[in-house]
C-alpha cells in the first residue's frame, strides 16, 4: 500500500519535473540537437532588447540572445547570442537590434554592414577582439513620446498666447512649430528606414501605398501652390489657390479612401487624417478671408505672415510628402494620435485668429523676426 503511494507520487513528480524542463526549453525557443556557438556584439545602447529575444539572419531565425551586460572600458553594451554553428557569416558582419512591433518585442539581426538598408547606421566597434560591431534602431515609442511632448508645448504656448502674445512667446511658438516639422521629418525618416529594414509591410499596405503615392503628389502640388501664392503677395491668387488647396485635399481624401478600400481600418484612419488636413486647409482659407480687408493696411508685415504660413505648410507637406509616413500613420495608433493632437492644436490657434484677428494682427509681425 505504502509502496503503491510512493510509486504514484514518484511518477507524478517525475512527470512534472520533465514537463518543467521540457516546457521552459521549448518556450524559450531552444532547438535540440543543433550545436550552438556564441557570438558577441557591441552596441552603444540596446533599447528594449532582452535575453531570449530571437536572432535572425536574412529573416530566418538562427538563435537567441543569451546575455546582455555592460562592456568593459566604456565599450557600451555587450550582447551575447547563441547561434547555429553552421552559419556562414558575411565578411563585414554586423548586428542590428530593432523593435519587431510597437509592443516592445525586439530582435537582433545579423547583417552585412554594407547592405543598403543599414548602410547609414552608425556601428559601434569594440576595442576587444572577436566582438562584432552593432547598431540599434531607435525605438518608435521614444519618437512618438517626443512628438507628444512637443504637441504639449504647443498647447501650453497657445494658452499663453491668449493671455499675452508677446515677442518672446511668438519666438517660442515659431520654435515649437519648427520642432513639430523636425520631429515629423524624423519620424518619417525613421519609418522609412524601418520599412526597408524589416521588409515586413503587408501586401495590402504595399498596394495601398502605390495609390497613396499618387495622392500625396497632389498634396505636394497643393503645398507648392500655396507657397507660390504667398510669396507673390497676390491676395486674389492666393485665395484662389487656397480654394484649390481645399478642393485638392478633398480629392486626396477620396483617392485615399479608394486606395485603401481593401483595408477597412486603414481607411477610417487615413480618412480621418485626411479630413483633418482638409479641415485645416479650410481653416487657413477662412482665416485669410477674414484677414483680407486688412491685409493692405499691414503690407509691411505681409512677408512675415507669409513665412509663418509657410512653416505651417511645411508641416502639412512633411506629412503628405512621404508614402512611408502615411502608411505607418495609418497603421500606427500612437503616431496617429500624436499627429491628430498637433493638428487639433494648430486648428485651435487658427480659430482663435479668426475670432479675434485684431489681437494677432498687432503682433503677427513678430512671428517673422
Amino acid at each position: 500500500m505504502r509502496f503503491k503511494n510512493e510509486a504514484v507520487v514518484g511518477a507524478v513528480v517525475l512527470l512534472a519535473v520533465i514537463l518543467v524542463l521540457f516546457g521552459s526549453f521549448w518556450l524559450a525557443g531552444r532547438q535540440w540537437g543543433v550545436q550552438h556557438v556564441e557570438i558577441v556584439a557591441a552596441f552603444r545602447e540596446v533599447g528594449e532588447l532582452r535575453e531570449g529575444n530571437p536572432v535572425n539572419y536574412r529573416g530566418v531565425r538562427v538563435g537567441q540572445v543569451t546575455g546582455i551586460r555592460l562592456g568593459p572600458m566604456g565599450d557600451g553594451v555587450f550582447v551575447t547570442m547563441d547561434v547555429n554553428e553552421e552559419l556562414d557569416l558575411p565578411p563585414d558582419v554586423g548586428v542590428v537590434v530593432s523593435p519587431v512591433s510597437l509592443f516592445g518585442d525586439w530582435q537582433a539581426q545579423i547583417v552585412s554592414q554594407s547592405a543598403p538598408a543599414v548602410r547609414q547606421l552608425e556601428f559601434t566597434v569594440a576595442t576587444v577582439p572577436d566582438v562584432l560591431p552593432g547598431a540599434a534602431l531607435p525605438d518608435m515609442s521614444q519618437l512618438t513620446a517626443v512628438a507628444a511632448r512637443i504637441a504639449d508645448q504647443v498647447e501650453v504656448l497657445t494658452e499663453r498666447v491668449e493671455l499675452a502674445f508677446t515677442e518672446e512667446t511668438a519666438i517660442k511658438l515659431r520654435q515649437a512649430v519648427g520642432d513639430v516639422s523636425e520631429i515629423t521629418a524624423q519620424i518619417s525618416g525613421f519609418v522609412d528606414q524601418q520599412t526597408v529594414v524589416y521588409d515586413q509591410v503587408s501586401q495590402q499596405v504595399l498596394v495601398a501605398t502605390g495609390n497613396i503615392t499618387d495622392a500625396t503628389a497632389s498634396v505636394t502640388r497643393v503645398a507648392q501652390d500655396l507657397e507660390v501664392a504667398i510669396q507673390a503677395g497676390d491676395i486674389q491668387r492666393m485665395m484662389a489657390n487656397v480654394s484649390e488647396t481645399s478642393e485638392n485635399l478633398r480629392i486626396l481624401s477620396a483617392e485615399l479612401g479608394e486606395a485603401t478600400a481593401g483595408v477597412p481600418s486603414l481607411i477610417t484612419r487615413a480618412d480621418a487624417a485626411m479630413i483633418s488636413f482638409s479641415e485645416l486647409a479650410e481653416d487657413v482659407r477662412q482665416t485669410l478671408r477674414v484677414l483680407e480687408p486688412q491685409l493692405e493696411e499691414i503690407g509691411p508685415t505681409l512677408a512675415q505672415a507669409r513665412q509663418a504660413m509657410a512653416t505651417l505648410d511645411e508641416t502639412i507637406e512633411r506629412f503628405g510628402n512621404d508614402e512611408g509616413t502615411l502608411a505607418r500613420l495609418a497603421d500606427d495608433p500612437a503616431l496617429y494620435e500624436e499627429t491628430q493632437a498637433a493638428i487639433v492644436t494648430l486648428r485651435r490657434l487658427m480659430a482663435d485668429i479668426q475670432s479675434e484677428p485684431g489681437k494677432y494682427l498687432r503682433n503677427i509681425r513678430l512671428l517673422g523676426r
Partner: protein, 259 residues
C-alpha cells in the same frame, strides 16, 4: 458612553487579534522545531503527498482547462483590430503561468486540501486523538503538521505545473479551432515574452500557497474546540483564511519578485 464602548470594543478586538497572531506564530515555531524529526514524519509523507497532491490534480486540471479556453477567447475579443492576434498566445501563456494557474489552483485547493486537513485534525483534537498521540510520546507537530505542510509545499508546485500546461494547451486548441489562428502564430506569441524566470516565479508562488494552506489548515484543526460544531467552524475558518492568505501572498510575490 457608546464611544467609550466602541473604543473598548476596538481595543478588545485588536488585543484578540494580536493574541491570535501570537498563538499562530508559536504554533508555526513549534512545527518548525519538529522538522528535524524526520524519523517520525518521513514515512508519513508519501501517503499524504498522494492524498494532498496527486488526488488534487483532476480538479486543478479541470479548472485550468476552462481557464485556458476563456483566456484565449477574451484575449481575442479584447484585441479587435489594432493588436496582432499572436498576442493571444502571449496573454494565455503569461497569465496562466504567472497568475491564474497558481491562484485558481490555490483557491480551489484551499477548499479541497485546507478544509480536509482542518476537519481531520479538528476531529482528532476533539476526540482526544491528539492527546493520545502525546501520551504515546509522539510529538503531534512532527506526526501531523510537518508531513502535511511538507507535502503541500512539495506537491502544490507539481499540481500547478500540470495546471499551467493544460491551461496553455486548452488555450492553444481554442485559438486554432475557434479563433482561426495557426499553431505557429500561437506559439510565436507564447514564446514572445517568455522568460525561464516565469516558471520559477510560478513555482515559488505555488509552493508558498501550499505551505500557507496546509499550515493554516493544521492550525485550525489543532485549535478546534467543542465537538462537531467546532470542527465545522474550524473548517470554514481554514478555507476563508487560506483563501485570503493566497491573495495576500500573491500580491507579496508580485511586489517582491516582479519589480
Amino acid at each position: 458612553m457608546s464611544a467609550q464602548r466602541s473604543f473598548a470594543w476596538i481595543g478588545a478586538k485588536s488585543t484578540e487579534g494580536f493574541a491570535a497572531f501570537g498563538r499562530f506564530s508559536s504554533f508555526t515555531a513549534e512545527a518548525g522545531r519538529a522538522v528535524p524529526d524526520l524519523k517520525t514524519w518521513g514515512k508519513l509523507l508519501f501517503p499524504l503527498m498522494k492524498r494532498i497532491g496527486v488526488d488534487s490534480i483532476p480538479i486543478a486540471l479541470f479548472l485550468a482547462a476552462f481557464t485556458g479556453i476563456v483566456l484565449a477567447l477574451q484575449a481575442s475579443y479584447t484585441f479587435t483590430g489594432a493588436i496582432p492576434m499572436y498576442f493571444v498566445g502571449t496573454l494565455v501563456g503569461k497569465t496562466m503561468i504567472l497568475e491564474l494557474g497558481p491562484v485558481l489552483t490555490g483557491l480551489a485547493l484551499s477548499g479541497r486540501v485546507g478544509a480536509n486537513i482542518a476537519a481531520e485534525l479538528g476531529t482528532m483534537r476533539v476526540s482526544e486523538q491528539i492527546d493520545a498521540l502525546e501520551t504515546l510520546s509522539y510529538n503531534p507537530h512532527s506526526y501531523l503538521v510537518v508531513p502535511r505542510v511538507v507535502a503541500g509545499l512539495l506537491m502544490f508546485p507539481v499540481i500547478v505545473v500540470f495546471a499551467n500546461a493544460i491551461g496553455i494547451v486548452s488555450g492553444w486548441i481554442t485559438a486554432i479551432n475557434l479563433l482561426e489562428m495557426t499553431s505557429q502564430e500561437f506559439i510565436r506569441g507564447l514564446r514572445l515574452f517568455f522568460e525561464p524566470f516565469d516558471i520559477t516565479y510560478s513555482l515559488i508562488k505555488t509552493g508558498s500557497f501550499g505551505f500557507a494552506i496546509t499550515l493554516i489548515g493544521c492550525y485550525q484543526g489543532f485549535t478546534t474546540t467543542g465537538g462537531a460544531q467546532g470542527v465545522g467552524t474550524a473548517t470554514t475558518r481554514a478555507v476563508v483564511l487560506s483563501s485570503m492568505m493566497i491573495l495576500v501572498l500573491d500580491a507579496f510575490w508580485a511586489v517582491t519578485l516582479l519589480q
